[in-house]
Structures are given as structure tokens and as C-alpha cells.
């Protein structure tokens, strides 16, 4: 339940609320010049007077924003001009205050946990906590502002492009910063800070503005996103651990995007999708020069990739052709079984129980690194004085693959085929009656998704060095599905974010990895309750999930209008 503060309170207390909010902001800003922790080992050493640590400096962005949001409206509506109406000043301040408080609480808790007790929390943190409480306690009494309309702000093209580039650069810088934290406390504090910042900016209307800017400068947006992704290894300077995570995220994400075609576009629930990734990986492993592969044909990698994709999609056709006539739950069960059959088959192709192909449960190891025209993926290179390690090489290769996957995905989505898929997802019988060849399209979704997974699997084989059947268990299918559902079915951006979260969190938070199933389960339940369309909503999906709300809203609106007309017939008809 939300605590609702009556509007009359908001009017009566608006001046004290603003003053207290400002006081809270000032307290938090001052606090970073005080020590927060007694010992050096907590977070990034917050023991100094007058010299804030990097985390404290990052943190102060939130209270500074809070202060600005509260102070700027004081100059008066006339001087602000159009901005007075375009920005939701008060509502954004409420978000900023709450976000600051949450970050302070997390930081304080981390200090207490890492140093063994609240006694190790120094005055600075208490001042910050007090400031956070004052701000978060007072700002809800500010009157609500209307929704931000920053997207209506007309800006010249160069401003838009500059905005996009600035956001991309900030994203790169912050991502690199987040990855540089290796202890759990710092990482969580920083992550909370980022989430808070994103929420504040969203409330401010920055993302609405960016969406408009992105729409009119689509090429710039896509290009700068890829440039930023390309530059990422340069921020890591040979830190292999982070680059390995990044490469794994990309492999995982491209498989998730393939699954997104099947689940998100065509609406077919596939619970054995990991088998297609596995089929690609095993194909590449068998065709590699590993000593455990008894196949003596080693085609160039580009050929291997195509074969791996083809093998996967043929498997997709074999499993799809008989089962796609059933739908819904039945399809889910059949695909679940197929995933298991794949794993067991790979175990049995060991020379004893079946022909020797995969070396059984030991799998194929010692898969050599890729080598493109003398460029050895296994060796570190130095570019512009920055060490580019083995994993960075694979990261770049995967970037190429994922670019291809995104290209395929968006083109399909906007084609006649894509429209057919969406029709099938919404009402298969009606789609059939309209002349959509439902069976062929479903089969195409299955085979296409499998092909993309096979391609990703081929790179994964070389990246991982070894391929074993136990990497391709049901749990992995579930994780891929979770990435799609969590991020937002049918979207590219959402699935990329979902995949990043699902891969990154367990790597960065070691203690978390023991409970990751529990926590991801909880996360999914919470998401389904509060935001079933995923973090990034596909426009149409959002309606699917909230159609009832919309109908309800219409009813309420109609009733209001009737009521109004009844009370004040002289004022003419009512409009919202």
C-alpha cells in the first residue's frame, strides 16, 4: 500500500517541506567531508577529514541534484519560462531524496558489516543518514508536479547528437567504474547509486527527451552505442577478469536475443533453448583442432560458424516440425524434454554407449584459440599503449556477432514475417483465418532462433576452451528465459539489460552466487507482480498487460465526466 498524504497537507506544509528538504541535502553534502568509517577496509576507505573518497564523491551527485531541484523553482516561474512546466521539479525531488536515503543506508550497512558492527560507523555517515531521513521525510509533503514533458523541448540536431554522445560516454565511464569495484559493499552501493540516478533522470524527463532525440538521429544512436561498446576494453587495461565477464555477457545476450524471437515475437514457450547453444558449441568443438575431436576436417572459423548455426537450426526443425502443432503448455513440456535429451545424447556419444563424437561427460577440452589471418585470439596485444587481452579479443568478436543478431532481429520484427508472428502470439486461430501460414512461421521462428544460438555457441566453444554436456542443463535455459522476461519480451534493449544483470550480478557478488536461484526467483516474482512487461516494455506488450487498468481508467473518466456535467451544466462538458 502507498501512504497517501492528503493534498491539503501538501498545500499547508509546502514551504517547511522545501526548507527541510534543502536542509537534508545540505547535511548530506557536508557529510562527505567527514569520515564515514572507522577502519580503512570498509568500502573505498572513507576515513579522511575533508578528503572525500571516490564513492563519496559519486554519492554526492544525488544530494546536489536534490538541492538543485528544490532550489531552482525558488527563482520564480517567470524566469524559468517553459522549463517551469516541462520538468516535474517536486516529483523528481521526491525521487532524489528517497534514492539518497537508500544509498546512504546501503553504504552505512556495508560499513557496519565489513568492519563488524555499527560502532565502526563514524559521524559522517550518521550526518548523511540524518540528512537522508530529513529529506526523504519532508519532500513527500511537497505538492505533486504534473508529468514531465521534456520530450516536447525543441532542440537543434547538434544538441540532440551531443546529448546522445554524452549519455553514451557517461554510460561507458560508469560501467567501467562499476566493474572496477571488487568488494560486494562498494559494488552494491555504487549499483544502488546508479539505479537511483537513472530513476531521478527518468522522472526529470531526460529519457523522454533522449527517446525523441534518438528517433530523429537513429543512426547516431546505434553507431555511438557500438563505438562505446567497442571502446570498453580500453577502459579495462588488461583486466582479464572483467573482460571475461563482458564476453560472457555478450554470448549470453546473443543467445537470449535468439530466444527472444521464439518467445518474445512468436509467443512460443521454449524451455530447452540452451540445447541449441550447446549444439553450436559442440559442432565448433568437434570441428576444432582439439586432440579430443576425432574429426580431421578443420574448416576456417567462418565456415564452422555457418555449420554450427545450420546444425542448430536443423535440430530446431527436427524438434519443431512434430511439436509446433501443439501449443502452449504442451510445447513447453516437449522442449523441456528435448533439452534433456540433448544433454544425455552428448554424454552418450563417448565411444562406449554410442559412436565417439563428444568424448562423453568429459567433453572436448583444449580447444585452441581462434586465429584470423595470423591474429591470434589467445595472445594479448597492445593497442595505443593499452593491453588488450585474450578475453577482449573474444569480446570484440562477440560484439560483431551480437550486432549481426540485433540486425536480424530488428529486420525480422519490422517485416511481414514479424507481423505474422505478432498475430500468432495474439490469436493463432484468427491469424490462420487471415491467411498467415502459422505452421511455417512458427517453424521459422524456431529454426531462426536456433541458428542465432548456434552461432553464439560456436564462439563460446573457443572462448571457454572446453565444451562439456553439463554446461547445457535446464537451469541455463531457465536463466535465458529469465533474461528475456526480466528485460522485456520482444525488445532488444530490454534483453540486453536483462542478460547483463543476470550474468554480471553473480560474478560481482560472490556471496550472492550461492543464493542466486532464490534471489532471481524472488526478483521474477516481484517483477511479475509490479511490472509484468519487463524493465523495458514493448509498446504493444505494455497494453497487453495493462489493458484492464486502461479500461478501468476510461470508466472512471466517463463517470467523472457524467458527474461533472450533472453538477455544473453551465460549465460545458468535462475534459481531462
Amino acid at each position: 500500500m502507498r501512504v497517501v498524504i492528503p493534498d491539503e497537507f501538501k498545500i499547508r506544509f509546502r514551504y517547511p517541506a522545501r526548507a527541510l528538504g534543502l536542509l537534508g541535502a545540505v547535511l548530506m553534502i557536508v557529510s562527505i567531508f567527514l569520515p564515514w568509517a572507522y577502519g580503512h577496509d570498509a568500502l573505498d576507505d572513507m576515513t579522511f577529514w575533508g578528503a572525500p573518497s571516490p564513492l563519496q564523491l559519486f554519492f554526492v551527485v544525488l544530494p546536489v541534484l536534490l538541492g538543485l531541484l528544490l532550489a531552482i523553482p525558488l527563482v520564480g516561474k517567470q524566469r524559468l519560462g517553459a522549463l517551469a512546466r516541462m520538468v516535474a521539479w517536486n516529483t523528481t525531488a521526491k525521487t532524489a531524496a528517497l534514492a539518497s536515503l537508500v544509498v546512504v543506508v546501503i553504504a552505512t550497512a556495508s560499513i557496519a558489516i565489513e568492519l563488524g558492527g555499527l560502532v565502526n560507523v563514524d559521524p559522517g555517515a550518521w550526518v548523511a543518514l540524518l540528512g537522508g531521513l530529513v529529506a526523504a521525510g519532508s519532500t513527500p509533503f511537497l505538492p505533486d508536479s504534473p508529468e514531465p514533458t521534456l520530450d516536447r523541448l525543441k532542440s537543434p540536431a547538434w544538441v540532440q547528437i551531443l546529448g546522445i554522445v554524452a549519455v553514451m560516454a557517461a554510460a561507458l565511464f560508469l560501467a567501467a567504474q562499476a566493474l572496477s569495484y571488487n568488494d560486494a559493499g562498494s559494488f552494491i552501493t555504487f549499483a544502488a547509486l546508479l539505479v537511483g540516478l537513472v530513476l531521478v533522470l527518468r522522472q526529470f524527463g531526460v529519457f523522454d527527451w533522449l527517446r525523441v532525440a534518438g528517433r530523429s538521429n537513429n543512426r547516431v544512436l546505434v553507431l555511438s552505442a557500438f563505438v562505446v561498446a567497442f571502446l570498453f576494453p580500453f577502459t579495462q587495461d588488461g583486466k582479464d577478469a572483467n573482460m571475461s565477464i563482458a564476453a560472457q555477457v555478450l554470448i549470453f545476450a546473443s543467445a537470449a536475443l535468439g530466444l527472444n524471437i521464439v518467445v518474445g515475437l512468436a509467443g512460443l514457450l521454449d524451455l530447452g533453448y540452451i540445447a541449441f547453444l550447446g549444439a553450436g558449441a559442440f559442432t565448433a568443438a568437434v570441428l576444432s583442432e582439439s586432440a579430443y575431436s576425432h574429426v580431421n576436417w578443420h574448416p576456417p572459423f567462418i565456415v564452422t560458424v555457418i555449420i554450427a548455426g545450420t546444425v542448430s537450426s536443423v535440430l530446431g526443425l527436427i524438434i519443431g516440425a512434430p511439436t509446433l502443432r501443439v501449443s502452449g503448455d504442451y510445447l513447453a513440456i516437449v522442449t523441456l524434454g528435448f533439452g534433456e535429451i540433448f544433454r544425455l545424447t552428448m554424454i552418450n556419444l563417448d565411444g562406449n554407449d554410442g559412436p565417439y563424437v563428444t568424448n562423453g561427460s568429459n567433453g572436448i577440452s583444449n580447444i585452441p584459440d581462434l586465429n584470423f589471418f595470423g591474429f591470434d585470439f589467445g595472445k594479448a596485444h597492445t593497442i595505443l599503449g593499452v593491453d588488450i587481452g585474450r578475453f577482449a579479443n573474444y569480446y570484440w568478436l562477440m560484439l560483431l556477432v551480437i550486432g549481426l543478431v540485433i540486425l536480424v532481429f530488428t529486420n525480422l520484427n519490422h517485416s511481414r514475417i514479424g507481423r505474422g508472428w505478432v498475430a500468432i502470439r495474439e490469436d493463432e486461430l484468427a491469424a490462420e483465418a487471415m491467411g498467415v501460414n502459422t505452421f511455417a512461421l512458427k517453424l521459422l521462428a524456431f529454426a531462426g532462433g536456433a541458428f542465432l544460438a548456434g552461432v553464439a555457441g560456436a564462439v563460446k566453444a573457443h572462448h571457454d576452451v572446453s565444451v562439456t554436456p553439463d554446461q547445457y542443463v535446464f537451469l541455463e535455459s531457465a536463466f535465458l528465459l529469465a533474461a528475456v522476461v526480466l528485460g522485456g519480451m520482444g525488445t532488444v534493449m530490454g534483453v540486453l539489460i536483462g542478460a547483463t544483470i543476470l550474468k554480471l550480478l553473480p560474478e560481482k557478488l560472490r556471496f550472492f552466487s550461492d543464493y542466486r536461484l532464490l534471489l532471481f526467483g524472488l526478483l521474477l516474482v516481484v517483477m511479475m507482480r509490479f511490472r509484468p512487461e519487463g524493465m523495458i516494455a514493448e509498446e504493444r506488450r505494455q497494453l497487453e498487460f495493462h489493458a484492464e487498468d486502461e479500461e478501468l481508467a476510461e470508466e472512471v473518466q466517463e463517470e467523472l465526466a457524467l458527474y461533472h456535467d450533472h453538477l455544473h451544466p453551465e460549465r460545458g462538458s468535462f475534459e481531462l
Partner: protein, 235 residues
């Protein structure tokens, strides 16, 4: 144009249609009348290829139609507005119409036909970018008919277009069908609302538990005592 011979359709062991024969001639409106479970919708679905007959033959323009997959049947020129309308509720009016034209590749022609549907049903044109699910039952029926017309069918099959509509809306829908009839569209109409459906019909068939019990011209059936008793509530 359409000829159905000794058609038998079954769901598992239960026969829903037990050997019916009828014809629809070019430019005619043919009404099929019957209570729930008489086999009307089953017959339409079988013609559309959504169900496979146990035995019997369906001929359309001199070619066999049974056994042809549904999307090919739409291409051959038969469109169905299914029972319960079955619109794509989350898609806009325009997207629904575009899906009706899914089998067509002439973009310009599709555009023209969409405008034609908007001319025919003004409310659809005014609210073309709204989701179909937000429309009233009558408006949704208009959209369902419009969507079926988008494939430029030679034969339009309408499955209970008056179902769930108010009497006024039913009148509007029937008037629309009469309009289509005067433009020369061949229509196979399945209805429970006998009065309205028979007065439009060049020919009517009465179905009872999977068999055709009467067939005659629409006017003659309207005057038939047995039909009046069973379907028009006369004493």
C-alpha cells in the same frame, strides 16, 4: 461458385456435421440457420481449412478445396470473419486491417482498400490508431467484417455477426451486409437471428444437429410455418 457435397466433419468420435450438401452461387447471399451446436460454425471452419473433413468434398470455382491449407484458401479468395470476431485486440484498427490483407503483396491496393473500409465504417477511420480491444461490440464487428474484406475475397463468410450486439447494432450490421450484397459480394452468412438473416438471403438452409432439414429461397423460408415456429417465435 462454392459447392459442398456430403460433408462430414467430426471432433474425435463426435460427428458435428453429418453429411450436408449445399451450393453458393456467384453474387448470392446464402444464409445458414440453426441453433447452437447445429454445425454451422463447424461447416464454415471446414471451408476455411481450419478443420479437416472426415469425408465429402468441397469445390470452389471448379477446384477441390478440402485438404488445402488455410492460408492457401485465403489466397484462393475465401475470407472468414470468425465467430466471436477474434480481433487482434492489442493491435490498432489499421494493424488489424493490414493483417486482413496479409496474403496480398500490392501495397498500393491495400492502402486503397483500407481507405475504402474507412469510408464504409466512419468510426473506424476516425479512430484508426486506437487499439481494437477498446471498441464497442458493434464497432468491433464492423472491424471484423472490414478485416475480412481486406483480402478482396470472392466469397465472404460471416459467422454470427450479430452475436452479442444490441438490436440497433444488429440492424446496422445487417444493413452493412445488405450494402455488400448490392455491391455484388458473394456472402455465406451463418446466423441465429433468423428474421434479419433470411430477409437478406437469396437462399437459406436450416441446420439441425448436423443435417440440413429445410432449404429454400430466403422468402419462402420466412413464410414457412415450421421455420416460423422453430426460429421466429411464431405460434
Amino acid at each position: 461458385m462454392l459447392e459442398v457435397k456430403d460433408l462430414v466433419v467430426a471432433y474425435g468420435r463426435i460427428q458435428a456435421v453429418k453429411g450436408i450438401s449445399f451450393t453458393v452461387e456467384q453474387g448470392q447471399v446464402v444464409t445458414m440457420l440453426g441453433t447452437n451446436g447445429a454445425g454451422k460454425s463447424t461447416t464454415l471452419r471446414t471451408i476455411s481449412g481450419l478443420l479437416t473433413p472426415v469425408s465429402g468434398e468441397i469445390w470452389f470455382e471448379g477446384k477441390r478445396l478440402d485438404g488445402v491449407p488455410p492460408h492457401k484458401i485465403v489466397e484462393r479468395g475465401i475470407a472468414q470473419s470468425p465467430e466471436g470476431r477474434r480481433l487482434f485486440r492489442q493491435m490498432t484498427v489499421e494493424e488489424n486491417l493490414r493483417l486482413g490483407a496479409y496474403t496480398r503483396k500490392d501495397t498500393a491496393g491495400v492502402k486503397e482498400d483500407i481507405d475504402r473500409v474507412y469510408d464504409m465504417f466512419e468510426v473506424l477511420g476516425e479512430r484508426r490508431n486506437e487499439k481494437a480491444g477498446l471498441f464497442s461490440g458493434g464497432e468491433q464487428q464492423m472491424l471484423a467484417i472490414g478485416r475480412a474484406l481486406m483480402s478482396r475475397p470472392k466469397l465472404l463468410m460471416l459467422d454470427e455477426p450479430s452475436m452479442g450486439l444490441s438490436p440497433i447494432m444488429t440492424q446496422k450490421v445487417m444493413a452493412t451486409i445488405a450494402d455488400l450484397q448490392s455491391q455484388g459480394t458473394t456472402i455465406l452468412l451463418v446466423e441465429q437471428n433468423a428474421q434479419a438473416a433470411l430477409s437478406l438471403a437469396d437462399r437459406g438452409y436450416v441446420l439441425e444437429v448436423g443435417r440440413i432439414t429445410f432449404s429454400d429461397t430466403g422468402k419462402a423460408l420466412l413464410g414457412d410455418d415450421r421455420v416460423r415456429k422453430a426460429y421466429l417465435g411464431a405460434d
